[in-house]
């Protein structure tokens, strides 16, 4: 009861500070992933062997310094460093087998929100349709009322592709339809100032590619159309006076978080 009056405020705060803020999303995801991955790494790796391998590498580095006047020792030690590095990488990458699937799926999902920006009203964008050669001249684009074609379609026979330039009048989530061979196939287009889940392309077949790049159901198997793509602009995030691709920022922040958590949890990485 006590919290009832402030719930809308909290929701608004979460929306504005977190959900509509790509930087906040990256920070939160990085912290959570940093913690989980360090924990997972700790449980799935041979911590003792990793510690020994790291310590021996440090010892060899010190040996190069301690015995720097003895070239044969330095050369032998460098060989040991190379071998030791290989051993360390092997040990550190065993847990990779456990983390690579969830991390990859997570990155794919987050990439749908943060990888590109939705279209803005009055901002022209391209719709590209890749089709079979015999239907290249048989394609038509049907738009909702809030959208309009701003330039004639361009046919690119070399790529079996037709390209339209389209513009939306106002924000919203729309379906555009592409007609070919008597059938109609739709594709989602998001026009919004907020962070939204985007699917840049809709594909036929190509199962693995669909998993990684498409957020929509596959085009029917009998469809003459192979792909319908919308050219969302890539998103850059301002952080520390620099423009970052979210994956690069995620890489840096999750590393920092991982470094902090590994110290706190006493896990060898």
């Amino acid at each position: 009861m006590l919290f009832v009056p402030i719930r809308p405020l909290m929701a608004d705060f979460l929306n504005r500070v977190l959900l509509d803020n790509p930087l906040a999303i990256v920070v939160v995801v990085s912290l959570v992933v940093g913690l989980l991955m360090v924990l997972l790494f700790g449980y799935t790796s041979n911590q003792k062997a990793i510690k020994v391998a790291k310590d021996q590498l440090k010892a060899h580095l010190l040996a190069v310094r301690l015995y720097q006047d003895q070239l044969p020792v330095v050369m032998r030690t460098y060989g040991r460093i190379v071998r030791g590095t290989g051993r360390y990488i092997r040990l550190a990458f065993m847990p990779l087998l456990y983390v690579i699937i969830p991390i990859t799926l997570l990155i794919v999902q987050v990439d749908r929100y943060l990888g590109s920006m939705p279209m803005q009203p009055a901002q022209p964008f391209l719709v590209k349709v890749q089709t079979a050669p015999d239907t290249l001249n048989d394609l038509s684009l049907q738009l909702p009322a809030e959208m309009a074609i701003s330039a004639p379609a361009v046919h690119v026979p070399a790529d079996n592709e037709v390209v339209w330039r389209v513009v939306a009048e106002k924000a919203g989530t729309y379906n555009i339809d592409v007609a070919a061979g008597g059938q109609t196939f739709s594709k989602q287009v998001v026009v919004s100032p907020d962070v939204s889940r985007l699917s840049p392309t809709r594909l036929r077949d190509r199962f693995w590619e669909r998993i990684f790049v498409s957020g929509e159901p596959a085009l029917p198997d009998n469809s003459p159309i192979q792909a319908i793509a919308v050219t969302y602009l890539p998103r850059n995030i301002n952080f520390a006076w620099l423009e970052w691709n979210w994956i690069v920022l995620f890489f840096v922040l999750s590393m920092v978080a991982g470094f902090v958590f590994k110290e706190v949890l006493g896990i060898e990485i």
Partner: protein, 724 residues
């Protein structure tokens, strides 16, 4: 297995996870998915979490740093080589060997070595004797390790290096202090609220004078690796690497204070070397702590830092689960843990790092845990224990944590029966194996120059197990002769094996020398010389006292002419020198002669054996600028005798002679003429009566260096090698 011999909950979880996931089909699926990721790459796939990120980054960083180091070494090598060549021309131009390897076996006895060689049990030493040299090596006065090894390294008598015993006496209060090093905290403290914050560094001052021979070699551009040679703490700068040995303190600043944690209601305090800590039961958990150094923020309060630990007994499995400083491990009864790092935390983020091992002695009826003295952590030393500082870190990273305490084998714990024979041997040989690894690493790294390594195991094991060798030792009378273990013979065989492995590592251009600082004899009877001085009117107790507590507690100095403390030194209470001295300096000589006459030949009334076979005037055996710090007389006890435990600690008892019932049953702090060391060499040495003081000049000469004028030793003559 995460810890050797230890399992834990995390391990179990990991095993379960692995068993579930690591099946063949699961692996196949994972590999397939991995292939998909590789075949259909996205930018994000290059990164799979911070673990892999760290691995990649640190690997490249390691390789990059190593590459830079190596490049630097490679590019600057020609210049350094030219410089070294110019420096070395003198040395190597006349050097008889490319490399000298000196193995120091503290306390190896020539008579035992000869006996075991004769029985065919030491083939490698026999080979050295046959092809090269085996001699008795004359030791120092007195025959005590810090004295003898100081002479070994400096080439001078104790009058020039200032080490006469483990202990020296403070002339102002007759109390002892460690003779080899002085450690003082920072001089200034800032008082802020309840804290007293130390400002500045801990001041460590080496008391040994003289210059070790590896410094001369280093100056000439000859690289030296020196490992665990006694009295090298604090480590001194020189062009080479050195790991300090005997006299390195534990984290409490003592020479080794073990800790015995028990649920037993009470018990006597240990005579020396350890502390008993109560362990409290709370249901199925026992709690205790490890005492550490004094709190640096509570100067002078005597408040100790401590690390708590918990133990959960599992009597059915005869083991216990331990949690120390957030580390968890399982320990079986009769088993040592690995070295466990500890952090003794003080306020304001200050603290000290140490390592220790736990030994679970028993779980029922009472829980008893022995904890080794807390050693300075070699991987992050709070005090310098090597030169350069990174050398101890290098060894710790390469081989794991190791004992750094000077007297690392806990003889006191065996003496006080906290450890039994097997537990002591396991500890001693554990340390020994670490040092063997260090030696072989040094041999590999030092292909040219000097490699010197001292092993303490020979000394400690003989001290503690001579009782099984002596047919009639009081400490082993209840052990039938046919049930006595051959511990000392096995020790010699082990050392012989080590020599064999070293011989395989060296070529014809390497000089191998095996030396010991002294030999060994039985220590069956204790002599309380303070009691003799008391009974003969040289030492007077306060009125009404018939005995005195430790450190002359009840001695009336105004009526005392002579006293003894430490192992072999006897001091006159000289006016103007000692604070309450009464012997006129002019009368000292006559008093010394009187004491010499009376003590020389002192017989044990129980057996008629001679308890003191020689009393040596310091003016006759020492010469040098530090003779004033020497004892006035050096007592040479006879075979089977030694200063009593009480006498060493400045205690006066009623009995002069008594049985030694402690496990510490062999000794060498007797007449130095009775306990020479050994000298084995892979070359013929012409000199018939070599002495330990000759080692330093011999090594310098072999590397073609001139001998400093202050040396007391003389270089041996090595027979020329055919074809060289």
């Amino acid at each position: 297995m995460r810890f050797r011999g230890v399992s834990c909950g995390a391990d179990t979880l990991v095993r379960q996870l692995r068993s579930r996931v690591a099946g063949r089909s699961a692996r196949a699926t994972l590999v397939l998915l991995l292939l998909v990721v590789v075949l259909f790459p996205l930018p994000g796939h290059a990164y799979a979490g911070p673990g892999a990120g760290f691995a990649v980054l640190s690997s490249f960083w390691t390789l990059f740093v190593a590459f830079l180091y190596s490049l630097y070494a490679l590019l600057t090598w020609p210049f350094r080589h030219v410089l070294r060549t110019l420096k070395r021309r003198k040395a190597y131009g006349k050097a008889q060997f490319k490399r000298a390897v000196i193995l120091g076996f503290d306390g190896m006895d020539p008579e035992l070595a000869e006996r075991f060689m004769g029985e065919g049990k030491l083939p490698n030493l026999a080979k050295l004797q046959q092809q090269g040299t085996f001699r008795k090596l004359r030791t120092t006065f007195p025959a005590i390790s810090p004295v003898a090894w100081s002479t070994f390294m400096t080439g001078v008598n104790p009058g020039k290096h200032n080490i006469y015993d483990f202990l020296a006496r403070d002339l102002s209060n007759y109390l002892p202090f460690l003779s080899s090093a002085e450690i003082k905290g920072p001089k200034r403290h800032w008082k802020i609220g309840k804290y007293s914050i130390p400002v500045g560094k801990t001041n460590i001052k080496g008391m040994r004078k003289g210059t070790p021979f590896w410094h001369w070699l280093g100056k000439a551009g000859i690289f030296c690796s020196v490992i665990r040679v006694p009295v090298t703490f604090p480590p001194e700068k020189f062009p080479g690497v050195l790991l300090s040995g005997m006299c390195v303190p534990d984290l409490k600043g003592s020479q080794g204070t073990f800790c015995f944690c028990t649920t037993r209601a009470s018990g006597d305090k240990f005579r020396e070397g350890g502390v008993r800590i109560a362990m409290e039961r709370d249901g199925g958990v026992c709690r205790s702590y490890i005492p550490g150094p004094e709190d640096p923020l509570a100067e002078g309060s005597g408040r100790e830092l401590r690390v708590d630990f918990e133990l959960r007994p599992d009597p059915e499995r005869n083991q216990a689960r331990m949690e120390v400083d957030s580390q968890k491990f399982t320990l079986k009864v009769g088993e040592y843990s690995e070295w466990i790092p500890l952090k003794f935390k003080a306020a304001l983020g200050m603290g000290a790092h140490g390592i220790c091992r736990f030994y679970l002695k028993q779980l029922s009826p009472e829980v008893e845990v022995y904890v080794t003295p807390v050693n300075i952590d070699p991987g992050r030393p709070d005090l310098p224990i090597s030169h350069p500082v990174t050398y101890s870190i290098y060894l710790a990273k390469l081989f794991g944590p190791y004992a750094t305490l000077g007297l690392a084998e806990d003889t006191w714990a065996l003496n006080e029966e906290v450890l039994d024979d097997d537990a002591f041997l396991a500890q001693a040989y554990g340390n020994h194996e670490d040092r063997e690894r260090m030696l072989f690493d040094a041999l590999e790294k030092t292909q040219q120059g000097l490699c010197a390594c001292v092993f303490d195991t020979t000394d400690r094991v003989q001290h503690m197990f001579w009782r099984y060798l002596d047919d009639d030792h009081p400490a082993a009378r209840n052990v039938p002769r046919d049930q006595r273990p051959n511990i000392i013979q096995e020790l010699y065989q082990r050392m012989d094996g080590l020599i064999g492995r070293v011989m395989q590592q060296i070529d014809d251009d390497t000089l191998l020398m095996v030396v010991s600082d002294h030999g060994f004899k039985s220590f069956a009877r204790c002599v309380n010389l303070n009691a003799w001085l008391h009974q003969n009117g040289y030492l007077t107790l306060k009125d009404g006292k018939t005995e005195s507590g430790d450190w002359f507690e009840d001695v009336d100095w105004s009526r005392t002419r002579a006293y003894t403390m430490g192992l072999n030194g006897l001091y006159l209470n000289v006016k103007g020198r000692e604070r309450q001295g009464i012997v006129e300096p002019g009368a000292a000589e006559a008093l010394k002669n009187e004491l010499r006459t009376k003590l020389n030949g002192l017989a044990d009334p129980a057996s008629g054996k001679i308890g003191i076979t020689g009393v040596f005037d310091c003016d006759a055996v020492y010469a040098g600028p530090y003779v004033d710090n020497a004892p006035d007389l050096i007592i040479g006890y006879g075979d089977g005798f030694r200063a009593s435990w009480d006498s060493v600690m400045g205690k006066v008892t009623e009995k002069i002679f008594e049985d030694n019932l402690k496990a510490w049953s062999g000794d060498h702090c007797i007449d130095p003429r009775l306990v020479p060391g050994v000298l084995f060499c892979n070359r013929k040495i012409a000199d018939e009566k070599p002495a330990i003081v000759d080692v330093a000049p011999t090594i310098l000469k072999l590397f073609g260096l001139g001998l400093p004028a202050h040396f007391d030793g003389k270089a041996w003559t090595l027979a020329p090698v055919v074809g060289k």
